[in-house]
Symmetry: C2
Subunit: 600 residues, 2 copies
């Protein structure tokens, strides 16, 4: 190899070999550094910051545009812009551990016995009772099939002793000596575009034991699903890489949960997975390309059961990995899981459900009918493409108020590092309420601004901007701004959602007055201030009183599928009743979208 | 290694290494020579003949007892008695290719679509029809599940072209380009204790294409099932060896059938297997020990589906190996298959079914009720333990008549090599009819024998004997005899069957007059002369007119399971209605058995 790349992270050093001309971001991500790269390494998002300690790299225009002078002076560079032509020594910033919304609004359900462990002893055979050993088990339990391996295992077993029989539906899949019936576990998973959450359950007791959250490692290939499909198309093994990264993370989560709770991974039999259609396609390593372009056709949407070995997921090889069903390319299993969570409201209420994640999916239910659509809200609310945007992790400005001076809160009360989705909505709502921006979203002239707030008016990278946190209070010492450009991004996102809601109301012939409940799902949906959301018309103002925040409902739906034996029937029912409204080709959507940009 | 063992077979030479003291029979069978050894190498059956060309081996008493002086002079020895203590050069006799009864009494059935290949083209997706690709297939075919591997395969396929979809029940298991719907095969198998038959079918057309027969390679471990269970118990890896030998033979059959008919083994998806309970246990390599001793409990009797890979059977890995269900340890899936063959008679007729193979299983059906028992007929009718006994292969005396002189026929009109089951029954019937043996089975005094036949009276190995074929007409040049001892063996066998019939009649409250049909199954059952069988009371004399020979009905039953979609339901029904009568502990059986020895 041509060059040595010395990498410092958390005071640990690693030296990698690199060929001349190799891209630094690629090198780092191939070596599991999981550097953020929302734009997929195109020099647009400015997230893949590293600190260059020594070695030659000629700074690019993209870096000059995306980094402050101060940053550049400190040696900060963008890894995606560094073509390796020298020995380099770099430092990667430590990241705070991820904390995402893992609780959900769910109750205890009737325990699913799809997988079951039961403890029995066999009677002694006699000339009058010549039933074979297998039938003796069948007659004691509600099973009538047996796996070949289990027959082979019988030789090791003394036929008089206490046995634990593991069954999968009506088939015996394992036999163990002694009473092991409590050793039966399952994991519900929500694969979000940005974060993955695993919930560990004891399936014998139907009890949640623990959970584990991790960033979606695919984000190094792009922040949104389209960038990832592009990555898969443009790179050899792209699909396979997206898959392997996800599976590595799932296995890491399984390892951690098993280790922490002292359970054997072989006792984990069932895994249910919710996620959007593209996440599920990438999990399987199959082609999602046709979802990216009109007419947006997925390869599959139905519920699918897979053997763990087929995906190399490290749970019991006879277990089941169940992917929840999707509706269409842009209304995925995450939304079906949301609907499962609010299933009890579906028949006799008129409900609006909004799940704002990397996309914005909207559902309107009326009687048995379920109308859905998906809007390209973009990852703005997850911090991508926003100058100081970041995920909802410690240090993110998550609440903001103007009351003569600025009053803000960060997650975990850490020094401010950026702005997350709920903070973004709060800030824009407060700027609008206080007349600092007008209903078209533009900054008003300085003289029209309340003098208390004039000092915060500034510019950032040639855009008018509002200083949200001064350098003295931030982690990096740099000011944190919200710019005119950022506001436009949020307007695009919220306009799309608002227009989507209008189209569904029109399709289902429902008015705002008819709507009984407005469910807000998604991690973001749990932190968001409803009043702020209504102030900027992200959610129609007249519905403010009907808002119920249901947190990470996709995860909750996956839990219900893990636990509740009726879940399959209910999801089948949901899928049967759902109509997907494709917005992209509708003239009326384009019109409403344009109309929805303003804040009032 | 200590010694070189030079082996000649079919004019081909092989040299094996051997350790001092190694048993020659073991060495040969470890190297796939498949030498017959009905007694399991105990020096009792005298079947493992080899010719010693050079090298030192001290002849044993067992060899002196079991071989003629002429044989000994020619260098014939018993491999099981040879302990290797010198370089040896030996010759193994060439065997005629096996010809067993492979045809059966079965008609064309409604074709089973458990596995199916269908040819379709997909419509182009549009914005108005956004169904996913998988759903487009589901909507065209009667399927609603898809295998993970198939989803992966979609990438290689142009979604507009003609596709062949392979399904297993309601699940898609393969997708191919072009029209391949005719490439769908299945194999029905009958694993007899002595012979194995494979029947190849095109499952798209429901047409039998070819068949292949082969000796059961386990016979080198013993002629009957009990010897094989003993072998499995006494030897490390005994169970595994029994299994591997069977599977090697099945794979050989599959190879031959595929090669001869130019088909791809990957297009064979379904295999149904009939066989007695112990054969099916040994096929799976599981413990059959508890079947051998009271209370005779099998590990399993239910129908079982296994993935080909689990048994390393070389058909499509997504196919199914289906073992037909058994009734008890000694009434196996072969008898269930027999019953399936005569299913149309079951409800409104009273039927007796006798399957004489290595065991003698008897069934009596009356209305819905099915009574069964198994008698230890022993392998006498398959030639084992009979001085000149042999299987029904070319050269076996299969028909015999006394009409002033001897009139006999051999299979394939080859030079006589021994006597098979049907020949045995003919000879004894003729000896009895002509007063050469009395009704107790003993040879009468010479002066009471018709003078035409006196010349055939002789002795063989200290037993009174009847010369069946003179040395001039035999393959080896040696006379072929039927001895007093052989007659006793047949009496034991036929007495057991006769007593079994009596017990079933008693249990079901049926008289011979009530019986409508007597079905004789088993390869032997097709060659046997009904009149002879009735003469010696193997089958009650009064039933002679009701006899229907149905050939290898076990194979026919396996075919029905392969082809007929109703077969599962019918076998379930049979199993539900069957009562197994355990004879071993019944006082009345012992009495009837003693009473049944005489021929009249």
């Amino acid at each position: 190899m041509d060059y040595n790349i010395t990498i410092w992270k958390n005071s640990k050093k690693e030296i990698l070999d690199a060929k001349k001309g190799k891209n630094l971001l690629q090198l780092l991500n191939e070596n599991d550094y999981n550097i953020d790269s929302y734009c997929g390494g195109e020099g647009i998002c400015g997230k893949c910051r590293i600190k260059l300690i020594s070695g030659n790299h000629e700074i690019t225009n993209a870096e000059k545009d995306l980094l402050t002078e101060k940053d550049i002076d400190k040696g900060i560079r963008l890894a995606c812009m560094v073509e390796i032509n020298d020995d380099l020594e770099i430092e990667i910033e430590d990241k705070d551990e991820i904390v995402v919304m893992t609780s959900g609004n769910y109750n205890k359900y009737e325990i699913n016995k799809e997988f079951n462990k039961q403890c029995i002893s066999l009677d002694s055979p006699t000339i009058k009772d010549q039933r074979d050993y297998t039938k003796r088990i069948f007659d004691k339990l509600a099973v009538d099939k047996i796996n070949y391996d289990v027959l082979k295992k019988f030789d090791e077993i003394n036929k008089g002793e206490e046995l634990t029989i593991t069954s999968k539906k009506n088939k015996i899949i394992d036999i163990e000596k002694g009473n092991k019936k409590n050793n039966l576990y399952g994991i519900a998973v929500d694969i979000g575009t940005t974060t993955i959450v695993l919930y560990l359950f004891n399936l014998h007791e139907g009890k949640e034991i623990d959970n584990f959250s991790i960033y979606n490692p695919q984000k190094k290939f792009g922040a949104d699903v389209i960038s990832r499909i592009n990555y898969a198309q443009k790179n050899d093994n792209g699909k396979e890489n997206l898959k392997l990264e996800l599976i590595k993370s799932l296995n890491k989560g399984i390892d951690k949960l098993a280790e922490k709770n002292s359970i054997n991974k072989k006792d984990i039999f069932f895994m249910t997975i919710a996620g959007n259609t593209i996440m599920l396609h990438t999990l399987l390593g199959v082609d999602a390309e046709t979802i990216a372009k009109a007419p947006y056709i997925p390869l599959f949407t139905d519920r699918i059961d897979i053997f763990p070995d087929d995906l190399k997921i490290n749970i019991n090889e006879k277990g089941t990995i169940r992917l929840l069903p999707c509706v269409s390319g842009y209304v995925g299993a995450d939304i079906v899981a949301d609907l499962l969570t609010i299933n009890e409201y579906l028949t006799d209420k008129i409900n609006l459900l909004i799940d704002i994640g990397t996309n914005g999916e909207i559902v309107l239910t009326k009687g048995e009918k379920i109308y859905t659509c998906s809007t390209a809200a973009g990852p703005a609310f997850e911090g991508a493409n926003i100058s100081f945007g970041m995920a909802g992790i410690p240090g993110a400005v998550s609440k903001f108020k103007l009351d003569k001076k600025i009053d803000y809160k960060t997650i975990a009360n850490k020094k401010a590092a950026g702005i997350c989705g709920s903070g973004l909505v709060d800030i824009i709502a407060e700027l609008f309420r206080n007349g600092i921006i007008d209903k078209q979203g533009g900054f008003v002239d300085e003289e029209k601004v309340d003098e208390n707030y004039r000092e915060y008016l500034s510019t950032y990278k040639d855009f008018k901007a509002f200083r949200v946190v001064g350098g003295k209070e931030t982690k990096t010492g740099n000011d944190i701004y919200l710019t005119q450009k950022d506001i436009r991004k949020v307007q695009l996102a919220k306009g799309a959602i608002q227009a989507g809601i209008e189209i569904l109301k029109k399709e289902s012939n429902v008015t705002s007055e008819d709507i009984d409940n407005v469910f807000i799902a998604g991690g973001f949906g749990n932190y968001i201030n409803s009043h702020s959301a209504c102030t900027i018309n992200l959610i129609p103002r007249e519905l403010e009183d009907k808002i119920i925040q249901i947190g990470n409902a996709a995860g909750t739906g996956a839990k219900i599928c893990l636990l509740n034996r009726k879940a399959i029937k209910i999801t089948d029912e949901i899928i049967k009743n759902v109509s997907y409204i494709e917005l992209s080709k509708r003239q009326d959507f384009t019109q409403k979208y344009m109309d929805s940009m303003p804040f009032a």
